[in-house]
Amino acid sequence: MKKVKADPKGVLTGVHYLDGDYAIAEGALAAGCRFFAGYPITPSTETAERFAARIPKVGGVFIQMEDELGSIAALIGAVWGGKKAMTVTSGPGFSLMQENIGLACMMETPLVIANVQRGGPSTGLPTLTGQQDIMQARWGSHGDYEIIALSPDSPQECFDLTIEAFNLAEIYRVPTFIMTDECVGHMHEKVVIPPAEEIELVERKWYTGPKEEYFPYKLDKDGIPFMVKAGDGYRFHTTGLTHDERGYPVINAECQDWCVRHLCDKIRKNADKIIKLEEDEIDTAEVIVISYGITSRVATRAVQKARQQGIKVGTIRLITVWPFAEKKIRELASKVGAFVVPEINYGQIVYEVERCAGGQAKVIHVPHCGGWVHNPEDIYNAIKEAVK
């Protein structure tokens, strides 16, 4: 993996007061993203607006496409044209993008999609928060595949994790999602943007060998194929069909087995390297609160109160939502009495926690159907119930 310093042209070094949506745009520019195709949708539009305002002075392209189907298609094209590319959307747009998220996975195209979640289903709550697309991020497109999804809890983390998302996308050649939400997207906070030389970026895994020996999907030692871009004389082919290492379609079960296992295993086998968690007092905990995004900030209040009452509460914040921190939760399941899982949906990540707890620890869900964050009291009550 080749690492390079960020291009200062895209880095707005300094201390800023930004909302999460703007911070995502700044993170993308700092990460070297020079192509943005998107479609307006509340509450994510500010990212597109910021990018549209900034890119002419940085050097690159912003295009407002006719819909989200086109936006994601244009992104994949742009990446194969040699650019780093991203888009931003919310639930309804994310639904439309599922089609070509599958293509991006199949073609092993590194790109970044930020989903500033709102309440659903359907048009739902355009202006109010939700965390209801978490399972969709994992399973939204048809077929078996794996992606990476990160969940920032602040504008600062929107900036940091957008850079991280670009790096992960390049390392694993996989679409990477920033699963934030309306609250974080519209929350203004201090965002520190470091100097360009302090921002480390992963360069695309460019192929440099002899042209005649290039196969688009021949796996390198690390299990990730090398990439080229259109126009470099490789005259390569890539397809959404099940393909062999030449990128040629092969329609049989053997090739499907090779192709699908590779798409999934490159993430599954590297899960330990990918997953980032923020843990607090889990070693002594009798109950652990597992949360992500804005909900983890709300949970803090409940955890403080419970600790004041003498309850041994640990917390895990899923910075990486997908791949899921399966190993960690399995380990902890035999050591703690219960997991408390608040999330702004009617049950999503809780199913993962239940699966990994495997009946060894109690799992208490604290649902919220969207439109606002939890009342910390509800999470506190769940913690109390957990230690009963």
Binding site: F35, G77, E99
Partner: protein
């Protein structure tokens, strides 16, 4: 000289085909291969740097073209090749990007992308093989099926008014619009050459025989019968009013070059506009893709 030296069995466009993928999947009598041959000849005559030509296809019979052409080639999703090509072209403006797909892919499921790329005068060459039906899936009715024609999902004949693609494209803003049939091989080649050598959104419709489905279901005979129909019923009318180009079942087919005009492409307009309004603050977005240098 031995006979085998003199007569080498070689397809004249072999160097532009992925011979390791031949034989192709198209039916005997299908017109897609004919259009591919025209495209290959146009590429050769155009003297373009072929390393800088990319082909993008969608899904369907014509969608398979990208898999057979030995250039940088992308077989994308149903309806999205124009949007994909938009990203590819904008990311790497030195490329000549050709979208090669069918009527169902481009004008049916992909209609929105098609009209918007035309509106933006995106610098793309779009070759649309129109066989009047969804052939890959078994001959279903399409947005181009003539009235009264039979299709597997219009078993009593089609009653939906079809698109006239040249009319649609001109209205949407395409700056080059032509229509030919698979019989007009040299004209197709010439139109593709013209499109390759110009800037802006170029749309070339080629009416082709679908022998296995459209022709059989409508009792129109084989490929030769359809070429005979094109021969008897096509009328070359350059510059024809695109409002008058509807195709009725087994009726007259007006062919020719209907539109050719200059207009700034998306990228030219972008560069001109930002240079004007932002002056020196604008980072001119150039022809060279520096990301890899």
């Amino acid at each position: 000289m031995k006979a085998e030296d003199r007569f080498e069995e070689r397809n004249p466009i072999e160097d532009l085909l992925r011979m390791d993928r031949i034989p192709h999947i198209w039916c005997p009598g299908c017109g897609i291969g004919t259009v591919v041959t025209s495209f290959a000849e146009a590429l050769k005559k155009s003297e373009l740097d072929l390393d800088k030509v990319a082909v993008v296809s969608g899904i369907g019979c014509t969608g398979r073209v990208a898999g057979y052409i030995k250039l940088d080639s992308f077989h994308t999703t149903h309806g999205r090749p124009v949007a994909f090509a938009t990203g590819l072209k904008l990311a790497n403006p030195e490329l000549k990007v050709v979208v090669f797909s069918g009527d169902g892919d481009l004008a049916g499921i992909g209609g929105n992308h098609l009209i918007h790329a035309a509106r933006r005068n995106m610098d793309l060459v779009v070759i649309c093989v129109n066989n009047f039906n969804y052939a890959m899936t078994g001959g279903q009715v399409a947005a181009t099926t003539p009235l009264e024609a039979n299709a597997s999902t219009a078993p009593y004949g089609n009653f939906e008014f079809p698109f006239s693609l040249p009319f649609l494209m001109e209205a949407a803003g395409a700056t080059y619009v032509a229509r030919w049939t698979a019989l007009h091989l040299r004209r197709v080649t010439m139109s593709i050459m013209e499109a390759l050598q110009r800037k802006g959104f170029s749309f070339i419709e080629v009416i082709t025989p679908c022998v296995t489905l459209y022709a059989r279901r409508n009792r129109l005979g084989d490929g030769l019968n359809l070429l005979r129909y094109y021969y008897d019923n096509s009328e070359i009318h350059h510059g024809a009013d695109t409002r008058l180009l509807d195709i009725s079942f087994q009726g007259k087919i007006v062919v020719g070059k209907f539109v050719e005009k200059d207009k700034p492409t998306f990228l030219d307009a972008m560069n001109q506009h930002f240079t004007r309004v932002l002056g020196d603050d604008y980072q001119l977005y150039g022809r060279i893709n520096n990301d890899r240098d």
